[in-house]
Amino acid sequence: MKHLTARPHHLGSPMGKEYAEWMRDQFRSWGYETEIETYKVLFPTPKVRVLEMVAPTKYKAKLVEPALKEDATSGQVKEQLPTYHGFSADGDVTGELVFVGYGVPSDYDELDKLGIDVKGKIVIAKYGGSWRGIKPKMAQEKGAIGCIIYSDPEDDGYFQGDVYPKGPFRPGLGAQRGSVLDLPVRPGDPLTPNIGATEEAKRIERAQADNLISIPVIPIGYEDALPLLRALGGPVAPEYMRGALPITYHVGPGPVKVHLNLQFDWKLVDCHNVIAKMKGSELPDEWVMRGNHHDAWVNGAADPVSGMVALMEEARAIAELTKTGWKPKRTIVFAGWDGEEPGLLGSTEWAEDHAQELQQKLVAYINSDGNGRGFLYAEGSHTLQQMVSDVARDVKDPQTGVSVLERRKSAMAANATSAKAKKEIINSPSMTIGALGSGSDYSPFIQHLGIPALNIGFGGEDNGGEYHSIYDSYDLFKRFKDPTFEYGIALAKTAGRITLRLANSNVLPFDFKGFYQTVNGYVNEVTSLVDNMRESTEVENQMIREDRYKQASDPKTTFIQPTAKDPVPHLNFSNLLNAEANLEKSASTYAELIKLNPNPNTNMDRLNKLLYTAEQKLTIAEGLPRRPWFQHSIYAPGYYTGYGVKTLPGVREAIEQRNWKEAQEQIEILASNLMKYSKQIDEASAILKMR
């Protein structure tokens, strides 16, 4: 970590290239066949950044994170990217300011009730509540001309604990850089949708790109936000919108007027992915892949170097194992991705470029990103849940000595709200894993190509406010994150064992019963979602008809009556329920057969291929509505939540958006995918019956 955080190394920087070459040389020295695969991607950095209050008083935002004598790398100003949002639009705008809370859809519903419209205005939203890119996307949809996102001290500043350098939390001018590429529509290079951004790739015009927003947006710290928010007039913000600044939060609009001028260079840069392979001894055309990104916004000790150094240590230890005569059955591929921060550029371009080969050969992709101290978290394909749980049972938690499985279960039970839930967690021999939304390099693998994927790491006891700032440094990491690097080792053990089991197993460790149970839970959620919406729509419409909301409001304040909504029809879930029943049968049959015959010896290649390509049956060739790049019918990031996952996304989002026709269409698509998926499991079972 000392080496890889010594200098800033964002995408396109000289140090980014140097570090990629250093990693390549390390992998080579351990015996891996290693190449740097370079793509040409769009990466705008700022030429002009101006944010100023022009009325009722004047204030010019500093937009600079000060260097600290306690932090050795914080003064590397010349190499640091300034505080900005990757893929903000160019814009020179002046307008009245409106405070929109988190700036997510429900905040705009509240503002509607107050009679506040953001059309032609500049909005200021606080970080949190959703992925950052949703905020300018919503502002743009509502007609705003600019967007400011600030870190409220309540989020990761002094409200949470002492600020850096005394503690790890965000100081007043610390600002969270980050991408505002429309990731829930499509990650990757904006100019080369669905194809690798090679030198000669055919590029579309910037205006045609479907994942670029059209208004300027900038991140600021709370010291720069305070003068603006303090001067805002208009109604007092609803309680839930307020933060921890020493002011009464008003929503505006005005009398504050701000001028925001942002201009970018919109250049193409080289994006250097490090790809290291160790050929499998028996099944070289079946690959197990393990990746982490290497680019950072600045020095990036926690994000991403903490995960990257664990991955490299796994690679080194696996190479050591080969000196004892052992060789992996399957090919192991390690990846160090570039350009993750601006929008999963390196991994997406590589996955698009090698799509066919990956769908043929890749058994699973295992991702990590920043790693901290505390509890194991794991998200991914639920067919891998049991295997992850087995591994978690076999890795010791460095602080307590119990397994990382038991430590995680204890934390979950302690946080569970009901006695029943606590009991269930404690008494279960295994753990459940979450579903994948977006926010790191697993997305192109699982959500675009339908390849089983996992995202793992440790955290929960390493909170701070250094994220995407110049203070995410070795000095801060060493004091407040994982000082002894024992959780880096725990990550290497966990991810390493997962990689080794996938690479060595006779029959790949996919468990379809766990998948069935999870999908069953999701289906129950969406069916009850429809029922709940029907009931609440009926009551709401009655409240509106009978003027109940008006009667309940303070006549001395503005109140705009919400409008009545269309009643919720009954959707036909029968094909989906039948497909589910079918899946249950197929999954159970396979589980019984593999238990009886754990070491089959006929048709192994065919059997394994059926197992690892089954997930591809869950993809939709034409993709999800309005975002064709996302093809998985079970997992996707939410269109309006960003990183947050929406399971059964086609069905669930159509219901949430009250698009009943689309909901019914998506139910049929999902049912048909589950039928195809079950059929493939049945084919695998047929091989086991042949013995």
Binding site: E313, E314, T484, K493, G496, P509
Partner: protein
């Protein structure tokens, strides 16, 4: 020498626990071999490499 004796002792304990563990994708002898391999993998990991890297 003491260290070697201790190592043998630890290995024999862990071999004993292997017999009772099931791991997805492996059965019988192959499960034992896999767990032994993973323990060896663990023993190669060094925190100092994470610090310097």
């Amino acid at each position: 020498m003491k260290h070697i004796l201790l190592l043998v002792f630890i290995l024999s304990i862990s071999t004993y626990t292997f017999a009772q563990k099931t791991i997805q994708g492996f059965a019988g002898e192959s499960a034992k071999a896999e767990l032994a391999l993973e323990d060896k993998f663990d023993s190669y990991l060094k925190a100092s490499n994470l610090v310097s890297g």
